[in-house]
């Protein structure tokens, strides 16, 4: 491969693509969409009113009543009374107070029962107050969705106020001690799942992983297809006949792959840069309408770097395949049938997505993320959710890099024959023969 020739090819690919309106529209549109996606829910949530059915279990028997009153009015399940229509800010609460069971074992069963009721959507959430927890300024909050920021914020505020008031009372309204005692209570959010409660990676992290995963999926397909269309256009316009006298087919293919890849990287740089800027703490803090306790996903530089690596690996893997398809066929219709083969391999990680998010370090997820065809998307996802051991990342990247070299070799052998072949649609058998030509 002669680099000076390939450089000229890369320049042509890059300049002619970056100059199009389409490139700039998509480059600007996607961060705009991202901003809208990230900020709209917060904006909308801060305006909606939601009715929340909340069960409060108070082992200390000192806070629940006041909390219910604060949120919705007094209520006692044993008395058969439920308070409704309480309005704390813009969130409507319906609070039910349950007495804690006698023994520790019974309490455990009570907790399970409450968890079940959440899953059955009988109640939205339950709060368990223990003396030890209260002393530590902590109250457990259990809900199916731990992302209902506004509800949590309101509840947190109410709890803090109630607890503060109680403490002040116990302290005999000593004004000198007020400032010391008005500490707020932290909500400890625990997601209720079928498997039981477990620590949560954080909604923000998952949201970011989600965005990055689909972005990666999208751009690998989009840029792969661009390579295919470019090759088809080159072939059908016969521009390739003129170029091929100065460069070898392999150089032409590499020029296209690298040129289009650089366009992709340029777009990514703009996208990730915007994302990083939008999610910087200072920017997030300045968004005054964001409810307290809502954390915007934050794009760490290392994550952006992994994203770029995964893009390059995935891009070269699939784009080389697309290039071969473009060279073998005469028009988009013919090529599209074979192009869908590439999409199948890209969709597989999409199907695995929810399971990987749920348990990113499961054995099968680890194995799947080490299969070169899936590594770009799945390793990216795992890194975004919970960084896997370094050896797995290195192994995954290395295996994929080797596989990319193999793919480029294989596809270039199809390309060098296909690019000058016009006429009838080749059969798979013929394409295989091209690969074996000396």
């Amino acid at each position: 491969m002669r680099l000076d020739k390939v450089r000229v090819l890369i320049k042509r690919e890059y300049v002619s693509r970056v100059k199009t309106k389409g490139f700039w529209i998509s480059t600007i549109l996607v961060p705009g969409l991202f901003a809208a996606l990230a900020l709209l829910p917060a904006l909308v949530m801060s305006k909606t009113t939601t009715g929340q059915h909340l069960v409060v279990v108070d082992e200390t028997n000192s806070v629940a009543g006041a909390l219910a009153e604060r949120l919705g009015g007094p209520s006692d399940e044993s008395a058969g009374g439920e308070s409704t229509g309480g309005d704390m800010g813009r969130v409507h609460f319906q609070v039910t107070i349950e007495d804690p069971a006698g023994s520790a074992a019974e309490r455990e069963r009570q907790r399970e029962r409450l968890g079940r009721r959440v899953l059955d959507e009988d109640i939205d959430a339950w709060v368990w107050i223990t003396p030890e927890g209260l002393a530590d300024d902590r109250v457990e909050y259990h809900a199916e969705s731990v992302s209902n920021f506004l509800t949590q914020e309101v509840l947190e505020k109410a709890l803090s106020q109630v607890v503060q008031r109680q403490r002040l009372t116990q302290a005999g309204f000593d004004p000198d001690r007020v400032s010391e005692l008005t500490r707020s209570v932290d909500l400890q959010t625990v997601k209720v799942t079928e498997a039981g409660a477990r620590a949560e990676a954080g909604f923000a992290g998952v949201a970011l992983a989600y965005v990055l995963f689909f972005l990666l999926y999208m751009i690998i397909i989009i840029y792969g297809q661009q390579v295919m269309n470019g090759v088809l256009e080159e072939k059908s316009s016969r521009a390739v006949e003129i170029v091929i006298s100065s460069v070898r087919p392999f150089e032409l293919m590499m020029g296209k792959l690298i040129g289009v890849g650089l366009v992709g990287l340029t777009q990514l740089a703009v996208w990730l840069g915007t994302m990083a800027a939008l999610t910087a703490p200072a920017v997030v803090a300045s968004l005054s309408y964001m409810p307290e306790g809502v954390s915007m996903p934050r794009l760490e530089p290392s994550l952006a770097l992994h994203f770029a690596v995964c893009f390059l690996l995935g891009y070269f893997l699939y784009a080389s395949f697309y290039a071969a398809i473009g060279s073998a066929f005469n028009n988009i219709q013919e090529a599209q049938q074979f192009a869908s083969v590439a999409v199948i391999f890209l969709v597989a990680p999409l199907v695995l997505f929810p399971a990987v998010v749920n348990d990113p370090n499961a054995t099968w997820a680890t194995v799947a993320s080490l299969v070169p065809l899936f590594t770009p998307l799945l390793m990216m996802l795992r890194i975004a959710i919970q960084t896997p051991p370094l050896w797995q990342i290195v192994l995954g990247y290395s295996l994929t890099a080797v596989f990319v070299c193999f793919m480029v070799w294989l596809t270039s052998r199809i390309y060098r024959v296909g690019i000058l072949m016009v006429g009838k649609k080749p059969t798979l058998k013929e394409i295989w023969r091209w690969v074996r030509y000396a």
Binding site: V15, S237, R238, I242, V243, I244, S245, S246
Partner: protein, 301 residues
């Protein structure tokens, strides 16, 4: 003889059972206009593609500038393929600069030369147009400019005149004549014999992948002259073929071209002709290339 610019030695190329080029050997003397002639499907394009290292011959050798072809020698060749096209979305100047840079020119040089060529081809006002906005004829001029932008010593043109209107054909011929004056070697292929006849110093006729005739055009004509006669007469001149000693008669309007058997004597044929037609003219004539070609193909068969 001077070192040939290009030599093709016993080159053969098959596709499965089909023999596209069968043992072709020829040499292109420097500074000449060399015509690679033959009907469609004779193997002209395949031969040229092998010269350009686009396809590999099954056997045989190709020498450029007196030595086995190397990839960098191809930089000194300008090649206009038969099936040719341009990137539709690029502007004319961009495209020419791209082709120039591919041949190793620096960007600035390439742009400068592109501008000179656009001036020469009367396309200066379209320099900023996109290729897709140009007519087919204009695009062909751009392709020609792209072929020679890097000042090649050898110019190889595959069917350069196909699809050109007469005005642009004239322009292309002028450019070729200019190349020849500048001392470049020109190889072009065509299936139209009149074009070759007017332009070529040397020819190589191929048919079904085989060379049937080659050499200096003037010498070939001298060698093969003497057997061709122009007959002006009244009557059905196609029947002149029945005259003993006449190998072939190509009738025109009020005249015919007669090709005599090698051992026929002109005066005897004339005596017989005057018996059948009212002859007003009968004289020996240099054969045109088409006749030579048809005869050579017949002889080879």
């Amino acid at each position: 003889m001077e070192q040939p610019s290009l030599e093709i030695k016993s080159v053969r190329k098959t596709y499965g059972d089909f023999v596209a080029v069968d043992d072709v050997t020829t040499a292109v003397p420097p500074g000449t206009v060399f015509g690679l002639l033959g009907p469609n499907g004779a193997g002209k394009t395949t031969t040229i593609r092998m010269v350009m290292d686009i396809i590999a011959p099954d056997s045989g050798e190709i020498l450029l500038f007196g030595r086995p072809r190397r990839r960098e020698d191809l930089e000194r060749i300008g090649y206009l393929p038969e099936e040719r096209g341009l990137y539709r979305k690029m502007t004319v100047t961009e495209h020419l600069a791209f082709l120039g840079e591919l041949h190793g020119l620096r960007h600035r040089d390439a742009v400068e030369r592109a501008e000179r060529w656009l001036e020469r081809l009367e396309l200066a006002d379209r320099a900023k147009s996109k290729v897709e906005e140009l007519s087919k004829g204009m695009q062909q001029k751009i392709q020609l400019a792209g072929t020679v932008l890097h000042d090649p010593a050898v110019v190889i043109l595959d069917e350069p005149f196909s699809g050109l209107d007469p005005i642009n054909q004239g322009l292309f011929k002028d450019v070729l004549a200019e190349f020849k004056r500048e001392g470049r070697t020109i190889l072009f292929s065509t299936h139209v014999m009149e074009q070759a006849e007017k332009l070529c110093d040397h020819i190589c006729l191929i048919s079904h992948g085989r060379v049937v005739l080659q050499g200096d055009l003037a010498a070939l004509k001298r060698e093969r002259g003497g057997n061709s006669y122009r007959l002006v007469a009244e009557g059905d001149l196609a029947t002149a073929e029945e005259v003993p000693g006449v190998a072939a008669a190509v009738p025109g309007i009020g005249e015919a071209r007669l090709i005599l058997e090698p051992d026929a004597v002109g005066s005897e044929v004339l005596r017989e002709l005057t018996r059948r037609f009212a002859v007003s003219e009968f004289r020996s004539q240099e054969p045109d290339l088409e006749e030579i070609f048809i005869k050579a193909v017949r002889d080879a068969a």
